[in-house]
Amino acid sequence: DTAVSQTPKYLVTQMGNDKSIKCEQNLGHDTMYWYKQDSKKFLKIMFSYNNKELIINETVPNRFSPKSPDKAHLNLHINSLELGDSAVYFCASSQGTGEAQPQHFGDGTRLSIL
């Protein structure tokens, strides 16, 4: 019973396509996140939702659009994929945003743009 699950695990697609990555957590958390790990292995936050409301929106191209249908799900839709979008995308969740609330991560989605 995976706590934070992402699908798909691998995604290979052509430049210019539109794709979505799904994330679900069964921890009962109310806050969810998307991170991008680039080729240099840095993990950088992209978005965060608390109870379906956007609370963190880093400088991310507007081709990236998160959608939270309920507090257990946070999906990431990417339009017009570019070569630079190739990365590993991690979803995470936490109970609230207080300092003692560590984030729990999914196993990542490796996105490769051809």
Partner: protein, 113 residues
């Protein structure tokens, strides 16, 4: 603009010995620090954290030390075990930014039997 830096990309240590991982930060507003451990093809797993009002936090074999004046923290693993072989990420946050974590680039630890 790397606000959190892990200057050692890798570390090799003998089983049973101490592993010391270092992390430096530049943003004096950071008030909470975390260490995550990551195995290949898995997501980061929370390990231990420390608030800026403390200088040490211990949990079993893991101890984190914080030196605020030097903007430096370290993670000690004693004794190191082969299962500790992984990439370790240092992360920092501050209250006004909510739960936004800023990560370092990671240190790959190899524990040799």
């Amino acid at each position: 603009d790397q606000q959190v830096k892990q200057n050692s990309p890798s570390l090799s240590v003998q089983e049973g010995r101490i592993s010391i991982l270092n992390c430096d930060y530049t943003n004096s507003m950071f008030d909470y620090f975390l260490w995550y451990k990551k195995y290949p093809a898995e997501g980061p797993t929370f390990l231990i954290s420390i608030s800026s009002i403390k200088d040490k936090n211990e949990d079993g074999r893991f101890t984190v030390f914080l030196n605020k004046s030097a903007k430096h923290l370290s993670l000690h693993i004693v004794p190191s075990q082969p299962g500790d072989s992984a990439v370790y990420f240092c992360a920092a946050k501050y209250g006004a930014a909510g739960n936004k974590l800023t990560f370092g680039g990671g240190t790959r630890v190899l524990v040799k039997p």
